[in-house]
């Protein structure tokens, strides 16, 4: 355990000089320089595919750089593997936690850092150490709890504890708030500030400008594999950062005319759902969406939004019990015994929340994916065969109109970037002109350019007099697109607001299940940056 470089007085915690890394023809990192002073929180921001994760993977020993130098605490170091990184005092909290679900917290913490061949002494020492860390940094977790029984926020604490148990001085967090409630995110930030004040160095990778502004001391912006700027957070602004990220001005607000709602398109009354395990997921939902209007459903993931979309889309979870009423343009839709195809024929388009699982077949080509769900349409038939020429032509046209890149319909869906995959799904559903469009997390993992495009298409559909049900965990997105906002919590609609009258504090309360007006227990998320840059 002597690999930890000697700290030179005043030397930065991390210094990268000219780091380059290519994967085949793709240059993921180009000549990156980065200096992270000791005892600071350093934000790294950039679009998807900008090379943030690659850079951090190099720092954690997942990849060897093609060129460049890494200095930790002033001393040069070659990081062969994660073991070297850990010894150099680097800890990493991945976006997808690396925890063993059916192990206890203690077992997860000591895994790979055991004191000897037998577990008992290691477990005993870890128990004491955890107690100390818990009181020092607000990192309370029951050491004997199974990971699978813990909330996501607590699982993240275990990841942080793992790093601290290995005596990390440098903590890298990759998109840490993506899965947290506002209150949990607030708690995390308190922990991070506490760690910084103890002299730890923290690198925060995120695409949320609000977090950068709120918690970081310095921020570096990456774009297409290059480090385009490193600035003091206090000397920059969200719009400046957004501009640096994309390299051009982006619309921070979606331009849209006031809505002109028409006749009701979707009416939901008293919708209840009990899943196969007996858990009540929806506890009586009432909703109305009129033609030419976007209803945004805000809420922390897992409060029944997915179930609502699945039921409306015609494929409720197997074994679930449903009651209530759904009407589309006045006609009742069957709750059960229906399927996605019947819903599509009735005029419901659906952009599912998880495009890679529900929206696309990743191994199939783009043209096949553009046709899915509508491949039975008469214009795609040639007797009892598929008219492949017609389907291909149709797909090519849609791919062009939606600016899917590369514009190659023969490419398998998995070979497109997240943003372009999403464009394929949105193109398929929107171009069919559905009376009602269900759209879940339309811009999750999508870069800013594509976000802007998808948002414009959603508004265009609304302006064409169609109804849109938008479900998103990104409050900025809900605020930018919706004509009305409904907040879901624990299977209920907590309340409805108009976007120009809703404050984020007010919505935050509803999302946490607290009626505004009553003094909330949970912390209210502070004011957001400009909307639209989710």
């Amino acid at each position: 355990m002597t690999a930890r470089p000697e700290a030179v007085n005043g030397a930065p915690a991390i210094e990268l000089r000219g780091i380059s890394k290519a994967f085949g023809p793709v240059q993921a990192n180009k000549n990156i320089d980065l200096i992270v002073p000791r005892g600071t929180i350093h934000g790294i921001i950039g679009e998807n595919g900008a090379g943030k994760s690659t850079l951090m993977s190099i720092l954690y020993g997942f990849y060897r750089p093609d060129a460049g130098e890494i200095l930790i605490g002033g001393g040069p170091i070659t990081i062969h593997d994660s073991q070297t990184a850990i010894r150099a005092g680097i800890g990493m909290v991945f976006q997808h936690f690396k925890l063993v679900q059916n192990f206890t917290v203690l077992e997860n913490v000591i895994l790979g850092a055991e004191d000897g061949r037998l577990l008992r002494p290691s477990l005993a020492r870890a128990r004491g150490e955890l107690k100390r860390l818990a009181s020092e940094y607000e990192l309370q977790v029951d050491p004997d709890a199974m990971i699978e029984d813990l909330s996501v926020g607590h699982q993240q604490r275990v990841e942080i504890l793992k790093a601290l148990y290995r005596q990390a001085d440098i903590l890298i967090l990759d998109e840490p708030t993506g899965v947290l409630t506002p209150a949990e995110a607030d708690h995390l930030f308190r922990i991070l500030r506490g760690l910084r004040d103890e002299g730890k160095t923290i690198i925060l990778i995120t695409h949320k400008l609000r977090e950068i502004m709120e918690i970081t001391d310095n921020v570096s912006v990456m774009r297409r594999g290059e480090m385009v700027a490193s600035v003091k957070t206090s000397e920059t602004s969200p719009s400046q950062l957004a501009e640096l990220m994309v390299g051009r001005k982006v619309l921070l607000r979606v331009e849209k005319a006031p809505a002109t709602p028409g006749a009701p398109v979707l009416e939901v009354r008293g919708l209840r759902m009990v899943d196969a395990a007996g858990v009540e997921r929806l506890r009586g939902i009432d909703l109305d969406i009129r033609a030419g209007e976007v209803l945004g459903i805000a809420g922390v993931a897992g409060n029944g939004q997915s179930q609502l979309l699945e039921i409306l889309g015609g494929y409720p979870e197997k074994g679930a019990r449903l009651e209530g009423e759904i009407r589309l343009k006045g006609a009742a839709l069957p709750l059960t015994g229906s399927d996605a195809r019947a819903r599509r024929e009735a005029g419901v388009g659906h952009v599912p929340e998880d495009r890679q699982v529900e929206g696309l077949i990743m191994d199939f080509s783009a043209w096949e994916n553009v046709a899915f769900g509508y491949h039975d349409a008469p214009e795609f038939q040639n007797g009892w065969l598929m008219n492949q020429a017609a389907i291909r032509a149709d797909a090519s046209a849609k791919i062009e109109r939606f600016d899917v890149r590369p514009p190659n319909p023969e490419l398998a869906a998995k070979n497109f970037s997240g943003g372009n995959q999403q464009k394929i799904v949105v193109a398929r559903e929107v171009e069919r002109n559905p009376d009602l469009l269900l759209i879940g997390q339309p811009t999750r993992g999508v870069d800013i350019g594509a976000i802007e495009f998808i948002h414009k298409r959603i508004i265009a559909l609304r302006d064409a007099g169609k109804a849109v049900l938008l479900v998103s965990v990104e409050l900025d997105e809900i605020l930018a697109l919706s004509d009305r906002i409904a907040v879901m919590f624990d299977g209920r609609i907590m309340g409805e607001r108009l976007p120009d009258q809703a404050t984020t504090a007010d919505l935050g309360c509803l999302m946490a299940g607290v009626e505004p007006g009553t003094p909330p227990e949970q912390a209210i998320p502070p004011a957001m940056g400009p909307a639209g840059v989710a």
Binding site: Y60, F94, F103, N108, R117, L118, K162
Partner: protein
């Protein structure tokens, strides 16, 4: 059924469950580390042949045992290479090993001994002899305990005792040692092990090697303990029965003991009562002999409750970004 008959059946069950238990524990190590292994059958068969051939040539059961272990380890190496290093499909690799062993043993046997795939019969020191535990005869007259000790507990080959000792040992290794913690972790979420700076590849190879050693002992026991020589296809599906027992035991060592005992008992009963007379009907011997296999099908079809395999089982580990 009188007491001596019951003792005899139990005694026979202990002998018959031994290869199952060893193979089951072998599979447990491999699958707990996330490498599914349906090649237990092939490994045992290869080991049985190697053990019999070398025991015949050297007239030493111990050298036979070593050869058996080496034979099974060779098969493990193939499986490890395919499943871990080259990230191939573990089921297909396992099937290939079963075919390879089935063909290779007969081919080599015919080439070397010319006895249509058999090895010559083994005798004397080429077989593991039965050990009489101390005081077995002295205690025999003691009611109940005496016969149990003398008949059931004493009088087995060393490999039987090894197999039974492996149960608490496996439990201890799995739940009380660093290796066990990492082994279980690598079968549940290899990324957690990898990011902790521990080599997934090395751990999985280790587990597959232990699997080979245990299969080797199981095969050697078949050829030089319970029988006297190798016979074509002598494992007779025991590798698959062990796999069923492993699922039945939900990948836990003590439960594996119970599950393999159940299979051993069924086989012992079938041997003892080929035509079971139930008064009204006589159960035909074919049915009795088929009992362990029928139970296997029932278990594999999932009639015994949900068994949750190790979560990363069957999946080669690919480092993601």
């Amino acid at each position: 059924m009188d007491f001596p008959t019951i003792l005899q059946i139990l005694d026979s069950a202990v002998r018959l469950m031994t290869p199952l238990l060893l193979a089951c524990l072998a599979g447990l190590y491999s699958e707990r580390a996330g490498v599914f292994d349906i090649g237990l059958e092939g490994k045992m068969l290869m080991a049985a042949f190697a053990a019999a051939a070398v025991a015949y040539a050297t007239n030493s059961a111990w050298l036979g045992l070593c050869a058996g272990i080496m034979g099974a380890l060779a098969m493990s190496a193939i499986h490890g290479l395919a499943a871990i290093t080259f990230r191939g499909n573990q089921l297909i690799s396992g099937v290939a090993i079963n075919f390879l062993a089935s063909g290779l043993t007969v081919l080599l046997g015919q080439k070397i001994f010319g006895l249509a795939g058999r090895t010559p019969a083994l005798a004397g020191p080429a077989r593991f002899s039965e050990i009489t535990l101390p005081f077995a005869e002295a205690l025999r007259p003691v009611p109940v305990i005496g016969p149990i000790y003398a008949e059931l507990i004493s009088g087995h080959t060393i490999l039987v005792y090894v197999a039974f000792a492996m149960v608490p040992l496996t439990w201890w290794v799995l739940y009380r040692t660093r290796f066990g913690l990492r082994l279980r972790a690598v079968g549940e979420n290899p990324a957690s092990v990898d990011t902790a700076g521990v080599s997934v590849t090395r751990l999985r190879y280790g587990a597959v090697a232990i699997c080979g050693v245990l299969c080797g002992i199981a095969g050697a026991y078949l050829a030089t303990g319970i029988s006297a020589g190798f016979v074509k296809e002598m494992t007779a599906g025991r590798g698959f029965i062990a796999l069923a027992a492993l699922i039945f035991a939900k990948w836990r060592p003590w439960a594996a003991l119970g599950a393999t005992f159940l299979f051993g008992l069924l086989e012992a009963l079938a041997n003892r009562f080929p035509n079971l007379d139930l008064g009204i009907i006589t159960v035909p011997s074919m049915f009795m002999s088929a009992l362990p296999y029928i139970l296997t099908v029932i278990i594999l079809a999932g009639f015994v409750g949900r068994a949750i395999p190790p979560r990363a089982g069957g999946e080669p580990y690919v480092k993601e970004r």
